[in-house]
Symmetry: C2
Subunit: 242 residues, 2 copies
Amino acid sequence: MKLKVYADRISQPCRAILVFCKVNGIDFEEVEIDLSQKQNLSPEYKEINPMQQVPAIEVDERFKLFESHSILRFLACAFPGVADHWYPSEQFKRAQISSVLDWHHSNLRHGSGALVYYSRIAPLFGQPLNLKAAAEAEKVLSNSLAKIESFWLKGDGQFLLGSDEPSIADLSLVCEAMQLELLDEKVRERLLGQHVKVQKWIDNTRNATQPYFDEIHGVLFQVKESLMKMPSDGGSDETKIN
Amino acid sequence: MKLKVYADRISQPCRAILVFCKVNGIDFEEVEIDLSQKQNLSPEYKEINPMQQVPAIEVDERFKLFESHSILRFLACAFPGVADHWYPSEQFKRAQISSVLDWHHSNLRHGSGALVYYSRIAPLFGQPLNLKAAAEAEKVLSNSLAKIESFWLKGDGQFLLGSDEPSIADLSLVCEAMQLELLDEKVRERLLGQHVKVQKWIDNTRNATQPYFDEIHGVLFQVKESLMKMPSDGGSDETKIN
């Protein structure tokens, strides 16, 4: 199958898909959709993904798919050579990984995505910061990290659900957690410092997917560097995410 | 397999699972978790679902699962006799249904759930209304309904993705849309009135799952009736959903 991945590496779900493809030797063409240039809003990209978000994929120039978890599930099932641990065929294990992925939407993803956007990167997309929305998001994020530490990472496994091998859920959630690198160092320490298992799990997932993990996350650290040169306040209540 | 479904029928994801089981002849025991009595916060229920939300299932008194989309996927695959159209085994069709389900979390579900809660039912759970949060939610809901009308229901099919038979995505999204019955009639008309395809799709999904659809939704209409006796204003900005 001929695969195109439409992505911007600043987007955490995009990074999860890119790392997944590289780790599993899936041949693909990466098509950059620069969010800061609003390329996701172009009429051409609307033909690929009518929701005008990244990531999206195109297979054999005919089948299009968006929503990163659906893409990960599809790639794990449709491409030969993907090891079973990424999305186990055994139905009870698969259901539990699915449960993590569904839980993620309204928890870690919601909290982390909104906190980073409203407190740090909104100006990169032409929007003001919004410290009130950021404070709300931080509560969701804090609760989510506590649940990962106490429930999803309970037991002695290196990965979610007590597993000794990573799944697409580890990859999705860790790429989200990596976005916290963009936060002010003190805020990041306040959020992650108390969660020893979460920190170890991020390292484990990174180590299990090297060298691709660091390669794909390079852009994140570049953005972090440029953010450190910008003022971190200047909040306003006028920004909205749609 | 011996199945227990932990549910409160006022919760739209719970209704989707209950209708699915009944339509597909899956034998189960329904265990009521009364959200208005905070039974979801009991230590006993925390053993079933550590996230303390409904729905959840237990299989053979050993396997527990939460997140309604994961439960629907699991039931469709694990129980014999479920027709393929609910969650097709063909991987391209399955991926598209998965995409609808993932999209749902941050769109129709997010908008509808928050609008109904903040503008109508919060007092049933001991919380004040919050008209500002309701207005935010209405924007998300309005955009979501427009996307369903123009994209997910494009073509002549009776169901999402142009299909002539319902999938678990139809059931999940329609049970969510049914929650709008709890809104003030004028608000509901403002939101749904312009979306002819959405209205028809709700009817189609209801008709395809009778008599169970009406049976399971009975409690919704009882709550609607009691809400009509309550004042619909009295908003406050102090409510938060966690």
